[in-house]
Subunit: 692 residues, 2 copies
Amino acid sequence: MTNTTQLDQLCINTLRTLSIDAVQKAQSGHPGTPMGAAPIAYCLWQRFLRYDPENPNWPNRDRFVLSSGHASMLLYSLLFLSGVKATSQSDDGDGLAVKLDDIKHFRQAGSHCTGHPEYGRTSGVETTTGPLGQGTATSVGMAIAERWMAASYNRSEHHLFEHNVYALCGDGDMMEGISSEAASLAGHLKLANLCWIYDQNHVSIEGSTRISFTEDVAARFLSYGWQVTHVEDANDLDLLTRGYNIFLDTHDRPTLIIVQSHIGYGSPTKQDSKEAHGEALGAEEARLTKAFYGWNPDTQFHVPDGVAEHFRKHFGYRGTRLRITWEAQFSTYRKQYPELAEQIDRMQRRELPEGWDSVLPTFPADAKGLSTREASGKVMNAIAEKMPWLIGGAADLAPSTKTYLNFAHAGDFQSPNSTGSYHGRNLHYGVREHAMGAISNGLSLSGLRPYSASFLVFTDYCRGALRLSAMMKLPVISIWTHDSINLGEDGPTHQPVEQLASLRAMPGMIVLRPADANEVVEAWRVIMQITDCPVCLVLSRQALATLDRTCYAPASGVAHGAYVLADSPDHKPDVLLLGTGSEVALCLSAYEQLKKEKINARVISLPSWELFEKQSQVYQDSVLPPQISARVAVEAASSFGWERYIGIGGSVIGLDCYGLSAPMETVAKHFGFDVAHIVAAAKKQMTCHVSR
Amino acid sequence: MTNTTQLDQLCINTLRTLSIDAVQKAQSGHPGTPMGAAPIAYCLWQRFLRYDPENPNWPNRDRFVLSSGHASMLLYSLLFLSGVKATSQSDDGDGLAVKLDDIKHFRQAGSHCTGHPEYGRTSGVETTTGPLGQGTATSVGMAIAERWMAASYNRSEHHLFEHNVYALCGDGDMMEGISSEAASLAGHLKLANLCWIYDQNHVSIEGSTRISFTEDVAARFLSYGWQVTHVEDANDLDLLTRGYNIFLDTHDRPTLIIVQSHIGYGSPTKQDSKEAHGEALGAEEARLTKAFYGWNPDTQFHVPDGVAEHFRKHFGYRGTRLRITWEAQFSTYRKQYPELAEQIDRMQRRELPEGWDSVLPTFPADAKGLSTREASGKVMNAIAEKMPWLIGGAADLAPSTKTYLNFAHAGDFQSPNSTGSYHGRNLHYGVREHAMGAISNGLSLSGLRPYSASFLVFTDYCRGALRLSAMMKLPVISIWTHDSINLGEDGPTHQPVEQLASLRAMPGMIVLRPADANEVVEAWRVIMQITDCPVCLVLSRQALATLDRTCYAPASGVAHGAYVLADSPDHKPDVLLLGTGSEVALCLSAYEQLKKEKINARVISLPSWELFEKQSQVYQDSVLPPQISARVAVEAASSFGWERYIGIGGSVIGLDCYGLSAPMETVAKHFGFDVAHIVAAAKKQMTCHVSR
């Protein structure tokens, strides 16, 4: 280690021993990767990362993503030693994002040092990681965001956005399919601001990676169009520095730095073994390891003099200087380009532009109607034209999902070439749903308002990423069309059944399934105002009648999640008909039929269970009066969960099996989605239930 | 096309025009890929595929997987022209798997020509495809199965198993992460019997693949350790033949044949465009295309004389001859190795070996107990020792999930080397959950009884494959441990919440969450006897008391999905306590507490909703008496769906948010999983509900 000073080594070993001690005290955690990868992170932070510990939200900071989320103690040690400040967005009470006391209470309730890094819980954590592959894929979204912001807001004299995105990842990340998807796309997009550092320690939970992972990773990334370089020894700061410089000198593609490291470095019996991965070293082994580092084996959580100062002196001052310069520049920019500056401000605060909803369409009543995917495409285009930072795309299904932004100058997001530029608003994800989900998270974490799209059935391909959107409370919009068996001929592989229930079961996710074009408008009105959770907008392939709102309640009820669409004249119905999406019109037809038979029904449109459950009990009871237990729910999907609204004795017209390949009308009839069935179910309900 | 005879060309064009006409008549479907890839499939079937149309279930047949499932008409045309017979496993009434009438009713109810190929619906369909990447990944499972069966059953004089697995795939398959995972593993395992044919037509739904997919696929597969060869023109049977021969001559790795083709080949205005992908050509375009093929534009569904005969003469006779020879060989083998032959028979019939359950353990009552993952590991090992074709593994979590088969000679499945052989029973999937799911499907489709394993939260990474297990009714066993917030310190990213509800919502999936070691035994007893659906076995990380069955009902009640574990002496309880898994013991403690307070409760262990719902109404009512509406459900998971058993007024002790990183006891207490809460909820229920 030619240019490793004693102080460098002291800093690196402090990162290591803090990690060892935290895991040892918690008797839980992953010491091996922090021990092996400490110099990789130290070199990056100390010599390269442009990041101001005084302001971890500075928009032009470099991003450091710890995709190996289990190595969380490495990140916490870095945040602590660098003195990264807490921000108001997190729940850190005072001063520092991570205090020594947090480290001493690693993995305990109340500590900011949680088992895996949690965005929003600990300042300086750029994204929640742990499920492998999510960090790497999310970092691609952050890199796209930077390219887009640079192309959109930089002016020749003002380079407001020029930051890099680093992701530290491991063997597990490399094996996950989501990383392959994201890396392939990053190569295609020539994201030169993206650097993955692959901590290759050749050990995973089952032992040596030789038992399952023998591909040539360097060759694979070259095939994606990446720059690839090797660092033969993670302990060699010279080689690491050379690796990072190769990244900085590469301007036409992303870079992968493959670093050979030793899991559990320094542990006399556990180094290079799976035993170093996921459990405490043990008191005696920890002592021996410290001795190897030249540490006093009797100390715990020891931070030698000069270490924190060294971090601040180089890493900290550099970042603070850069941030202050940037702010001065931004205030000049603000004077020169007030409108652009306002966009940047709003984006960072998750505010909408003035007048964003001034152009929302209203759809006239129309029995023929249009599909909700078509209506959504029109509404989204109208909003997007007013809101430049609404950007997104589909997993090779833009034409089918109607999610292409087609107004003038929307453009395609591509590395500048004949078909697009980094200023483009339309992303082409290719057939890569899982990466699309994680990239959307990365876009949102950088302040953009992303949307993504595919068929509803393919939520199954990206739940890992959707779950993190919800856990991080990111206002990511995902658009899922072809929302039921009514897609028809493509058959059961493409007909969603259980996906609605599965999404509704996901905490912190709002699901919206509008019933007609005007409910789509209202759904978008709701969605755009959400700042703290993701939304799944679920849309039909087939045309749905645009309801005559002079006969039925206005669509603004969508904001309440559920509303009474049609009712008995005395508001004392005998039976409740509940529907969502395409089944609402069926309920209305049943209602009209029942009316002819002198039966008083109420039709409730229930586009969003989650929004409905946020309403007051009084409102909820006004829609679903507790004393009326004759209830029929109609939804062309799994009945799972509907007992919440209809009770044990209620009736669900749903399907608890897979669909059928046939024309839509045949399929709907086959599964009993017709007026006659609803009417019969309503009558049966009325004979079973005597209103309390 | 040097060696393409007129008859070859006629056959190829028949495949094309049948596809064109079927899509045109249905006004729905995907003509472009069948038109472009017809010669690829023709060359393979006619010259190479070892497959007997008289017996599409012949165990040693080559497999042809159409991973580009949207090109289903290509497969149906092949099955029709080859005269593949219907089998009893499918619902084909008579004779042929696909009749011309089926083709004429493509995508209509009742036709065997469904939108995408459906296993079990149409003989000759080796696996259900359509969701991209599933076919390719499943083919890896089939190739593993062949290697395992060859290593296990072939004897020097009898090569019972030596077949190849071909998968035809497209750009979309190549982009999906699941394919990357599967290809990396296939390369690691050196599956020389596996051949993917990549129909590279450079067009996907959004247009040219240049907009999102510009990686060097050949280099990527070389990095995985595959053989790669190119065919520059899909219409050149010579080049295709050379490609297939390269595969057959490669004995140390899988092969990728990259074939340049033209989507919609021959269509004057739609060739090479996305318009050829997913919609009918249109009547006039179809006429012009036929003219280009030298076809009479006025004919529809035309099969020229000699075409079917040509298929039968080469493809058919070859396969029948091989199958008859094989059967003769197998009857000699049966005499020489009756036990092995019996295994093969049972495997093919999905029967269990005699005495498979003779060694199931019983666990004595023990307040300390053991985790259900540990109990499961013991039970599974006991069964696996009796049942050689029970094989599987984990996604790099065998030690954590306790799924390693550790008895003598179980061994690791590896290409023969120092650490294992193709006879090994333990698969090392690496961190590749989605591929693991699809590979398990492939193993099952070949007759093996596969199990797979990971943490419950990572079902999110492989739902695409789990759904296909369920749709295909495959008895795949998947084992999910670390089943709740009780995993503790790893925190919310690893703590499942909504996964139980999401799996229960999936049609055709059985979910089992046993409460103690003896319920684990009974769960395995149930699982092993299932032949027609997948099972998710959900297990705890933490130790659970082994219940004293002299005080409580026997664990054999697991077979009914739910059973009364403890009851009031008069069997007229005032309140019902329902629990699953680790929460059952909590319910029992609450029951004992309530008993002290003279309150009559009943505890119901409900390990499987799906099994319970298969029971008679009488049994269901005996467990959950309808007149008792005071009900408390306790499950450390999303409350979603529980109203099915407790009604609108019931109480669920669950959690509808993400978890917490802290020691298990702290987490459980934080979310209210303790006796006091259950007792309080029970009392509150009793005051709210007057039994009817």
